[in-house]
């Protein structure tokens, strides 16, 4: 096994464990803390894939700003009573978990078995694309259109946030 593989599997397994911890903790604050951990591990995975810019953004936007939002929601909803948050494992949930496992196995088997020449295809110029400059070049030439659409999406999000969070209906 190369060092690449070892690093990848260490990171992948720890990100899965932290993700499981997020959904199994009783205290919402602990969930949020594990979510931060998960975001940070993902950032490291991006780094190993030569995507430095995305890694930094992951830390700034997700581990920074979105985490703050999560904490505010936890506090806003006043989820202090942990007993109220416990859930029962019902028959429906077992079926759902079973289906998810089937889906996962199917995807893994499908990808592992495939002999398509595309599956093991690594972008030849990954090192240049991942840099801030590489992203900038792509974003402002080929991906210009989605970029401009993003601004409309953000505008709609701003208005929506204000409309829904306003206390008065005449706000």
């Amino acid at each position: 096994m190369s060092i690449d593989t070892i690093v990848f599997f260490t990171l992948a397994i720890s990100s899965i464990i932290s993700a499981i911890l997020v959904i199994t903790r009783r205290s919402p604050i602990m969930s949020v803390v594990y979510l931060v951990l998960n975001f940070l591990i993902l950032a490291v995975i991006y780094l190993t894939l030569q995507a430095q810019f995305i890694a930094v953004i992951q830390v700034i936007v997700y581990a920074g700003a979105i985490m703050v939002l999560f904490l505010f929601v936890v506090m806003l909803l006043n989820l202090g009573k942990e007993e109220a948050l416990t859930e029962k494992i019902t028959y429906k949930k077992r079926v759902a978990v079973g289906l998810v496992v089937v889906m996962l196995v199917q995807i893994i088997v499908g990808i592992m078995m495939s002999d398509s020449k595309f599956t093991r295809h690594i972008a030849p110029n990954a090192e240049q694309i991942g840099t801030v400059e590489g992203i900038g070049k792509m974003l402002f030439t080929q991906y210009l259109f989605p970029f401009e659409v993003t601004s409309v999406l953000l505008l709609a999000a701003i208005i929506g946030a204000v409309v829904l969070a306003k206390k008065r209906i005449d706000g």
């Binding site: 989820l79 070049k137 601004s151 206390k167």
Partner: protein
Amino acid sequence: MLTDFGRVFLFFIIAAIFVAAGLIVARLLRPHRWYPGKLTTYECGEEPVGTPWVQYNIRFYVVALIFLIFDVEIVFLFPWAVVYQNLGMFAFVEMVIFLVILLVGYAYVWRKGDLEWDRPEPEIPFIQILKRFIS
């Protein structure tokens, strides 16, 4: 594979091991004598009153959400600043369009008074539904 970032990553791992080792050694060496006073939030000083679970004002949430949106906007400015020299006027016009659209949102938030800090009552149905949905 050990690229520049690989070294940075190693640096992080060593730092983590260093912190963990310090804590473990301290745990092994220190005397274990605890009493309830040690478990309070402030061991010496004020007696804590009530629960730390206070309901936050929704204002925090709105401000955080608006912050997040403009945070994403700034993220787009970084690569733009780097490639600006190469693409020139073309990139400038693109960014102006992007910013003008977002400035409309900024003007909206400003004019609607959501950047001001008054102290409203947080009783709105949306939040109550959110609570009902969770419990």
